[in-house]
Amino acid sequence: MEIPGGTCCAILGPTGAGKTSLLHCLSGIMRRHHPGAVSSGHLQIGERSFDELPAQILFPTVGLTLQDPHVQISSVRDTVFGEVLFTLENTGTVPENPTDVILPLLRNLGIDLLADRKPTSLSGGETQRVALATILIAQPPVLLLDEPATALDMAAQQKLRGILRSMKGKTTIVVTDTQLDFALGVCDQIVVLKEGAILFDGRPAAFLRRMQDFATALPLESWNHLKPELDEMLDDPSTRGSRITRALAIT
């Protein structure tokens, strides 16, 4: 499996397919916590190559947000601002004036008004964005997001899609999801997993043409509402981006 730098890849698959395990392997947490769980593998991130999967946490090269954003909040700091600053303290890269770095990021994520709020008192969507900020502040070249859209309402999903789109080109993003809507709105590559094996790896358009092949691996019934728009999109690949956006807006 190869993900070109600066692009966004969606890992789709049913529960238990190995999506989260894959992200844990890529971040280094898998071999660190379960040394015997992975017998072999090779990973290359840019110039950095690992003959075996890494046994140490690759942060800040690789940033991972977990499925439950609430556990990502450390509770070590009283405010959202402090929580984000905590990551910079961990990496030893606190600038002279942290506000200059943290506030623009919070503004980008639409949570600058929450800067002084207690991180444990936020809603699911807000917590998700704070969790993302705690990772993004370290500017990881590779960003792994484990089902980031699960706890979000449609408006928050739309916002997150916008954020990820704006990061493409500078950051390589890998997103796991069970929802097609979110993945299609932002990703350049789709990988379908089932029981740890790759069933498909390719462009979204190619995936849509072969979607029915994955009937046993993916919740196709719940994606039927997208079909008319997606069919139209496939007829004219040149307008793919805008039509996908339209399709998603309808949902």
């Binding site: 946490i57 942060f59 977990l66 450390s74 905590f86 990551t87």
Partner: protein, 252 residues
């Protein structure tokens, strides 16, 4: 004065109270307990951080005093030495037993009140940050953080599991025996969910580089602050009391 600046004298104060709990007569220990309860209302640095913490501390005081009284009375009944100081339902209370019970109870009360008051009046983030600045290894900081977070969330979590079990029809609020039986249905999800959350929280902290954070540099102090001298004074007092007790014990 910020909560973090208060920490060194507060820690010294707890150390002083622990020394007192093992060296001074029980009457002074009981008096110190009383001062602590009053200090919770009057000394800003000892005020609980939230109304929830204040309620928990008040409830703990009430339960502790009830238990201490019970311990003293039981000792007065069971240790039949010294003069009879009273009768309850025809059962004699003996002076030596009562004193032994009072000594044990006042010591336990002072130990528990001091440590509890420290934690209810100290924000967890400040405490962890302070320890890290003082060079606490990240692994220990992580362990402490997860433990304190678990304790902090415990009442909330018990309440949630209690409600969930109630919604499933478990007889969690119908009499003492039913409640005791239902305790098992609360305990297992409580323990399991706590373990899972602690692992995930620890993983999340690792994923943010917590275990590899550079040693925090201590802020350069401009001269000696009030808190520094207060800390020195309280610790000196503790050392004097401890030394006096050791010398007294050696002389016999």
């Amino acid at each position: 004065m910020s909560a973090r600046q208060n920490l060194p004298p507060k820690l010294a104060f707890v150390a002083f109270l622990w020394v007192c709990a093992f060296t001074l007569p029980w009457t002074i220990q009981a008096f110190l307990c009383l001062l602590l309860v009053l200090g919770r209302f009057t000394i800003p640095a000892l005020r609980p951080g939230s109304s929830r913490a204040a309620r928990a501390f008040s409830r703990f005081i009430l339960y502790s005093i009830a238990v201490a009284t019970l311990v003293s009375l039981l000792n007065a009944v069971l240790i039949r030495e010294g003069a009879i100081v009273g009768n309850i339902f025809g059962i004699s209370l003996h002076q030596e037993g009562l004193l032994f019970g009072a000594r044990t109870a006042s010591r336990l009360l002072l130990l528990s009140f001091s440590i509890l008051l420290f934690f209810v009046s100290t924000p967890l983030p400040d405490f962890i940050q302070y320890l890290q600045e003082k060079g606490l290894p990240p692994y220990l900081a992580l362990l402490l953080l997860l433990t304190l977070h678990f304790l902090d969330q415990l009442p909330n979590r018990i309440h949630q599991i209690f409600l969930a079990q109630q919604a499933r029809g478990a007889p969690v609020d119908s009499g003492m025996i039913s409640r005791t039986k239902a305790l098992f249905s609360i305990l297992s999800p409580l323990v399991l969910s706590s373990i899972v959350e602690s692992i995930e929280r620890g993983t999340a902290l690792e994923l943010r580089g917590f275990l590899h954070r550079p040693q925090a540099s201590q802020p350069v102090e401009q001269g000696r602050s009030h808190t520094y001298w207060l800390t020195v004074l309280v610790l000196s007092l503790a050392i004097v009391i401890l030394s006096y007790s050791i010398v007294k014990w050696l002389i016999g």
